[in-house]
Amino acid sequence: MLCHLTRRMISRAEDRGKKMPGWAERHSARCGACREYARFAASLKERLSGEKPALLAAVPDFPLNEARWAEAEARRGNREVFGRRLVAHPFPVAAAALVVVAGVLILFQTVLREPSPSPEERAAALAGLRSLTAAPDDFMGIVTEAESALAKEREILERSVVSAVEYLQARLNIKIERRDPAAKSL
């Protein structure tokens, strides 16, 4: 692990031209393999530069296709001529641009613009709206039904409580009074 880190530090020092940290230098002095790597990394530039001519000499020679450059040059020349024409004659160019804009506008108005809806389509849309507004009636009906069931439950519960109270009064000979809910909250 220390060797791995030390070699990383050696490479870093090589790339950034900075000194290695002390611990890496101490380890490098002790470890033969890291010392060897440091030597190798330091000599690599000189060795690879020295071998570069041999590497390039081994590349097969080939001619450059300069005819294509001439084509590119001609095209670039045409572009420049067009640019110069634009600068020299701005009014015809502006007129042409106006014609193009007008053409686009006419095309939009006549072809691409959506037609207004027919009476049948309007009627269909209104029917759809009505069906939407009708929905709350059903909703209210469902709510009322649910509430009535709740009220019945409450009634039954109240009756059973009253009968229980009556039984307790008779049995224990006491009087039980119903408290006012408003007073309780106070």
Partner: protein, 202 residues
């Protein structure tokens, strides 16, 4: 007495500035100087020498077309390799040339570089070892030691971060050393132990 051609004595950046100003001769001189270097740079990822030549031609054509966009604040070589890299990537995407060589790279080696470069092992041994690395590691090594670019310039050319470039170079150095230098004692001991275990099993 024949007068020495002054164009051959100009620096790359001077030539690039003149080419930008419209001098085709300066561009030709630049192309002449860099065609082999660019070939070496592009060759590992391509299937044949012909593909590499085509790519070199395409790169110079593209550079010539866009010579106005060259910024003299940068070195010409940085601009050249950045453009070459981008062109190579887009070309690979378009033509799917990459398939075979990618497989080779995944396996940790590159396709054979052909007979043109094969006979120079004793003279360019380190570069031969470098060519057997992955394409990215080889390119980082080439730009650093073959073209003497800085880490920042390599990062621009390869379209990577500086940290990624430093990591690539570190791995490349380790791998080249493993290929050219004899295995260290520790590795020898491990290999020996493995051999002994293999014999005992038999």
């Amino acid at each position: 007495m024949a007068e020495a051609d002054p164009i051959g004595q100009r620096t790359d950046d001077e030539l690039a500035r003149q080419a930008r100003a419209g001098s085709r001769r300066s561009f030709e001189e630049l192309a002449r100087r860099y065609k082999r270097r660019l070939f070496v740079y592009l060759r590992p990822r391509l299937g044949s020498d012909e593909d590499a030549e085509d790519m070199v031609q395409e790169t110079f054509l593209k550079l010539y077309r866009n010579i106005e966009s060259y910024d003299p604040a940068f070195r010409f070589s940085t601009w050249l390799y950045t453009s070459a890299n981008r062109l190579a990537i887009s070309s690979f995407r378009k033509n799917k040339v990459l398939v075979g060589s990618l497989r080779a790279e995944e396996a940790g080696t590159l396709a054979d570089l052909g007979p043109g470069a094969g006979g120079q092992t004793d003279r360019a041994g380190l570069w031969e070892a470098a060519r057997s690395l992955g394409v990215s590691q080889f390119r980082a090594l080439w730009l650093r030691y073959g073209e003497d670019l800085s880490i920042d310039e390599i990062a621009v050319a390869l379209g990577r971060s500086r940290l990624a470039v430093r990591l690539l170079l570190h791995r490349a150095r380790l791998n080249v050393m493993m290929r050219v230098a004899p295995a260290p004692n520790g590795a020898k001991a491990v290999a020996k132990a493995a051999a002994v275990r293999g014999t005992a099993r038999k």
